[in-house]
Symmetry: none
Subunit: 539 residues, 2 copies
């Protein structure tokens, strides 16, 4: 390892574990390591007390984020044979909206002895679904008051977002709300810990605030008036309990503090980027630097992200945020609530140990799965209907069909869901010109990618990196380090150098899956049925 | 065995096997035996040539009917310790419309060397679905011409019926049609074989002709004019290719011929009843001699039959035939195309070896299967929509549901299908006052019977005989034998003596399943959703 080597560190916080990726400025992976959280997802009982949690509750333990990331970074450095001195910047992506109540010195409420036994003091994981009532009221009030921010979120905000979770705590455990000095996203909390948890050093990601907390670069958060109408105590929530400077991902939130230099095993303080949402980190991570490129981050659920040069209101699109994904562009976020999760549900329901049999047989079926049609809302419909109460369906079933017909129909439904999103974007003036697939699913499910290409009638480029978000986070770390340290003049240069395709380097070539025109035509007919069935089920 | 013992033989031809039942005139079973057809259902390849059959084709082998019935009768006689001399009459029930082309000497075309390799020369099993186009045209033409017989079949005739199958052969294989001298039901063909296959001895069952070939006691078959409008060659089909005397079930078609006396191991020629449809044999077999008693013969598919004192036109009811079930009453036939078949399909699709796990878990779920709704049209919808092209569905599925939710929803859907049939009958002036369940399913699926009772809001009496149709066939054999041989003055006397309940005899007591009012109320709400989803899928 020459002493001129420059390395970026990307930290990718998932639902069960954190990944540390070390990568050079040509995008060559030096090492990566994963560390599972000691407490995993906290869904059954509260640590310490053993209190049984309601079925739709999901927490995480803040100490896990520190411990696991330190372990993963140290292990990755060791594997790569690096001293730690080579690191020039750190980027952080996190699940969102995972959020927590803290004190102004950064201490999470749940780590204080007087609150450890109080479930509402714990960090709520993105998938915590305790705020159904609150979400409904926020949506209803926003519609009644014709709140201007509502259109940016397709006319409806989601159960998993920031303020429903705050309001839930205010209503269910007012003493926790009262004791909270800082409400914040877990990604912001972690970056705060990295740079030294003084309230003056607190920064907030425009990405997380924009997509999950109704924040806008010009208009800020919803008005005090609106919050007051929801609950009198909430009127001053932004002023009194949400300090911090708004920063776009890729902008430095400060240098790593001495304590964390120590724990990570580095040699010196380096710049840390403002946090970003895991899926959104997948956009630079997939080498997508230009508008019109839809990055499909496909996993248990899917997030489809797109940059555009203009801001449009698109019905049912989860959010449009200026600089929300990359600086200087409007980032559109859309999503599907159950993709890999739904495949796995079907696999288990039909009693298969793995996908081998299902895939082999499903691949032999023609487009349309011989008449079986599926609606893929097994965890509700995110874009465009934004309705978590919707559910999945199969129609067209006969005695001659098997589980593989249902599996193929489910994959097709998932593709139809994307087609619907693309059509809605285009109809509202947002160009969608190319498709890049990333995340875990596209790499081990080529049949799915072919179905997506055929349904969309467009080539799909499967990005070669198997850790798009971590690579994206590392790129944001490089941007935070600045031009002098990195020698990249623009964000685009950094993205293309570190995550773009490289002729002549086989592992930097995307797999491009071409659509079959005949299949596309057949799918267009089935898609019409999908939309018709969807309309019926949603009515 | 005293030499005055009088025994009836019932032969019950199913889809996979034939059952021979020996029963005395008090209805006490002496023995029964089942023999599986050597060729089973012929659905994949044609015997002899191995030609791959289209997916909706289903045949049987006529030699199987003879060989298996002879084997079953001989075995039953042996088990019962009978000499064969005790038999006073034979009744035959058969699946319908299972039909075949034959020569005037009774030889099935498929057994002639020049036709053995021609698939259209083979007997089409009831579930053969090759005549979709033809069914559609028959219905369309009948509607256009306002054919008077159409109303008796609820305004629509079925894909599985006699003339669609004839027309399919005429159009797909005209040389087979030309070579056919006799088109007939398999049940009629078998009775013909029993009494000696001379064309002068050929009889046809009014039951099969009435329910499956648009025949009426006053009006006969549809007119030559109608048939000619369908296809010029079909104009004289009734006159030239459908010889035979019409006889009601329970009327003697003649005495057993010497050859069959031999093969069955009997001692003397005894009267053989005209054939009946398997499900219809279940009515006397369940001891139902009075109007207003709906006999639900529940098996792979279900047939719900009812006698009434009046003839009404009921939309979507498969047929109303005078004396079609029992002499002197109007028999209404309704049905569900997939019941046990659909349960079995689900079991296989979800990878279960048997129903134990599914049943145990489904029983713990509340009415409505926690939001999962099913439409049970996995083999089309018989009553009331009479549309074989319709298909099954599940809605309301989420990641939290399992296979047992689908199984419960399917059982509930099956019950909703019956409720719909009952409502349609009542709305059209046909009284339905009591419910008797028979067939294989009710005996080994008590949860299903409870769901039916709860959905209908009425008690269901599960008839103790596990072989209703075979017992019904035996009763028809006794009727064919006549009053002198049997000492029964009326059909009602024979039915009550042989299949009625007997106080003090535990195995002649029906199990009466009472409805739960709270469950009934809950189901009424789900039933409204079932009808709404059904309307959407059928539109």
């Amino acid at each position: 390892m020459s002493d001129t080597t420059k390395i970026a560190l990307g930290l990718d916080f998932g639902t069960e574990s954190v990944r540390a990726l070390l990568v050079d400025l040509d995008g060559r992976e030096q090492a990566s390591a994963v560390s599972a959280y000691q407490h995993g997802q906290i869904t059954d009982t509260l640590p310490g007390t053993g209190e049984k949690l309601p079925p739709n509750f999901a927490f995480q333990h803040p100490q896990d984020w520190i411990d696991s990331s330190a372990e993963a970074v140290q292990e990755a450095l060791k594997t790569a044979g690096l001293t730690g001195d080579e690191i020039i910047g750190i980027g952080v992506d996190f699940t969102s909206c995972t959020m927590l109540p803290a004190k102004r010195d950064g201490t999470p409420l749940c780590l204080l002895s007087e609150f450890a036994a109080e479930k509402f003091a714990w960090p709520k994981l993105w998938k915590h679904h305790g705020a159904e009532k609150q979400t409904e009221r926020i949506n209803q009030l926003a519609r009644e008051r014709d709140e201007p921010w509502l259109a940016r979120y397709g006319g409806i905000i989601g159960l998993e977002w920031f303020f429903p979770k705050v309001l839930e705590t205010l209503e269910e455990a007012p003493h926790v709300y009262d004791a909270t000095e800082v409400w914040l996203e877990a990604g912001d909390w972690f970056v705060w810990q990295l740079v030294g948890a003084d309230v003056d050093r607190l920064t907030r990601s425009t990405c997380q605030a924009g997509y999950k907390a109704m924040w806008h670069s010009n208009d800020g958060y919803p008005s005090s008036d609106f919050f007051g109408a929801l609950h009198p105590k909430l009127a001053d929530v932004v002023e009194t309990k949400m300090p911090g400077q708004m920063l776009a991902p890729g902008v430095s939130a400060g240098n790593l503090c001495d304590e964390m230099v120590q724990r990570f095993g580095l040699k010196k303080p380096v710049p840390v980027s403002a946090a970003t949402i895991d899926a959104h980190a997948g956009v630079p991570g997939a080498g997508a630097a230009d508008p019109g490129a839809m990055v499909m981050v496909m996993g248990t659920s899917s997030c489809h992200m797109l940059n555009a040069t203009d801001e449009q209101s698109v019905p049912g699109v989860a959010g449009v945020v200026e600089g929300g994904i990359l600086p200087g562009m409007f980032g559109y976020e859309t999503g599907q609530a159950a993709v890999g999760d739904a495949f796995d549900w079907l696999r288990q329901t039909v009693g298969e140990e793995n996908f081998d049999q299902l895939t082999e047989k499903a691949a032999t079926l023609p487009p349309g799965a011989e008449g079986v049609l599926c609606i893929d809302w097994f965890n509700g419909c995110r874009t465009p209907l934004m309705d978590g109460s919707l559910s999945g369906a199969f129609t067209g079933l006969t005695l001659g069909h098997g589980a593989h017909h249902m599996y193929r129909a489910l994959m097709e439904a998932s593709a139809f869901g994307v087609r619907w999103i693309v059509e809605i974007l285009r109809e509202n003036g947002v160009p969608v010109e190319q498709f890049i697939a990333t995340g875990g699913l596209p790499h081990h499910n080529p049949l799915l990618v072919q179905i997506y290409a055929d349904v969309l009638g467009k080539p799909i480029s499967v990005h070669p990196s198997k850790q798009g978000p971590a690579l994206g986070a590392a790129i944001l770390g490089v941007l935070a380090a600045g031009t002098e340290a990195s020698s990249f003049a623009t964000a685009r240069d950094a993205i293309l150098a570190m995550a773009g395709t490289k002729p002549g380097e086989p592992d930097r070539q995307p797999v491009v899956v071409q659509p079959d025109q005949e299949a596309h035509n057949a799918y267009s007919r089935v898609y019409a049925d999908y939309r018709k069935l969807g309309d019926f089920l949603a009515s």
